[in-house]
Symmetry: C2
Subunit: 377 residues, 2 copies
Amino acid sequence: MDAATQLPTVGMIGAGQLARMTHQAAIALGQTLKVLAGDPAESAAVVSPATVLGDYRDVEDLRGFAKGCTVVTFDHEHVPQEALRALTAEGVDVQPRPEALLYAQDKHAMRTRMAELGLPQPRWAPVDSISDVEAFGLPCVLKAATGGYDGKGVWMIEAPSDAQAVLASGIRLIAEERMPLQRELAIQVARSPRGETAAYPVVETVQTGGICTEVIAPAPHLDPAVAAQAKEIGETVARELGVVGMLAVELFQTSRGLFINELAMRAHNSGHWTIEGAETSQFEQHLRAVLDYPLGSTAAVAPYTVMANVLGGAPGGPRLDERLQHLLADDPGAHVHLYGKAVRPGRKIGHVTVRGDDPDLLRRRALRAAKRLQEGE
Amino acid sequence: MDAATQLPTVGMIGAGQLARMTHQAAIALGQTLKVLAGDPAESAAVVSPATVLGDYRDVEDLRGFAKGCTVVTFDHEHVPQEALRALTAEGVDVQPRPEALLYAQDKHAMRTRMAELGLPQPRWAPVDSISDVEAFGLPCVLKAATGGYDGKGVWMIEAPSDAQAVLASGIRLIAEERMPLQRELAIQVARSPRGETAAYPVVETVQTGGICTEVIAPAPHLDPAVAAQAKEIGETVARELGVVGMLAVELFQTSRGLFINELAMRAHNSGHWTIEGAETSQFEQHLRAVLDYPLGSTAAVAPYTVMANVLGGAPGGPRLDERLQHLLADDPGAHVHLYGKAVRPGRKIGHVTVRGDDPDLLRRRALRAAKRLQEGE
């Protein structure tokens, strides 16, 4: 709590683009967002004066960082459980709590818990040998139980030989059946310690090479019964796992119904559209939830909102500044978010959001805008 | 231009709430907003790591501040002309240029120029004695030619004795007729160096004790011909004065038509509604304009948007944090902006924005929200 402003200080472990956009939301609420960065050039570190340099795996660094924070939360799920449990044992208010966060950190634990809750998910099994994989059945998907993101830690397995190198790495793995997808959806739910929940409209997500490249909100032509089921899944997960803050549940939509793919307990790429597209952005909502504030309206502002990620393009071509100007000239209604990162091929360096009535037209606009920023002309 | 991100650094002289909200917009565009603050506790200084401490009246401080900035602009109009002319003579890109900014700094110069342009304004005259004031006619308004803001530097004169103390202060004054107002309006126009302009919808502003307390966008029940005239006035002023960046023209609406009240060449309180209410916020638009980027869409996002200012209440009562939570519980669709300032009675400490269909209902919601933050319950 800041003495002069009488408003809280939120500590966020991690200083990537999620922390950067949370800083924008914290400014509006009069709060101080303190970020723990590994490097002063990280996305949030370059725009927040309350940056602390340190290692998120080091309990001493975390302890120092937590001092003076009303609550401590995350922009990634890589903080070790032992470190978080040490902090909570010392009275630090960590949200989501380590017991909940575990299910966003460990896919084996998550799959086990979803099964206990009777929630729909792909057939799965822990595997640690070729014979386990063969017994599970091919083709399948191998996933690292911990540490994966943006397609990293996920391997498509057609033949036993594909699994060899993955198994040789010695990381803990689970196998999952490959679902015959119609498309991917995501549901985002905020939950506060007092148990209030607020669900956003169900969105469609489009992945390219394991990276989310487009989000359409709401998911077009979605059967209301399926939307209701997605919301029910999201709220059940939030409640039963004791999530606090934003929860994203990625879902497979198939001819056999919905299946849970992944969980994240933080602001998520599938929710960036909420900055312009919803009454309350996921970043403000996360702050409100972890502080046990009343949650904000999740109503959509426009009939449709589409977000497209901007990935770093190949080196060469016009500078990003020039590309940006071309895009702004081309589409005066495009909302650009750049993350202050050096451009590297394939790296998420920003996103663009457009609002309107026609989802197909919006997708074309958003992709065109993202492409302009990526490659120039 | 930042080497890693290939994006510009904008220098803003002043670190109040306008700079604070501009920092949020600069983050989205991937830019660095460097602010010149007189005190490290100022609104923008507490949220921006690119804060330079210095005196905006000191040309040496300004010179140091301008180093590395792609362009230098303002969150207030109090920088002396000589200092700005020294910077521009040395090749610093200052926007708006001092020759334009003069008309937002000096009401005598502004009134003279508006008269030359044949634009409608109250009858006025420079005055420096009681006999000048009597010759002008009473009642009238006396205004400090320079340095006024938020009702400061404005005196309602009923009798010659009211003018005595004001005249004795020795400041340069103009007298203006008191207009029989129907209401006050404002038009905001962005203009870039290449001459592109973009006008926002005409808004109604409500003043209380000389301070803007409410803005309704668009101005309800406004005759389209009057709206067109307001836009024409705004665009004429922007073009003829060579404004670059955001221009706000405050207007009196009377039974005899529109009359120009004040000019500001920066983001303005009458444009805070654009953060949630327009496709492009005035803060992003100002950055785009001073950088000679293409301008963004000024289209409204909702049928009506209403903004109410939050003034510091009397000491005592619940802390701001508690007041905020009560407000958020009461109105989940309220958009709160707090400026990170210590609470002092009458000081602008934030604003609240609501969007919807019914301007009367929105005004009630916005005022109720602002009152909750001001006084608690």
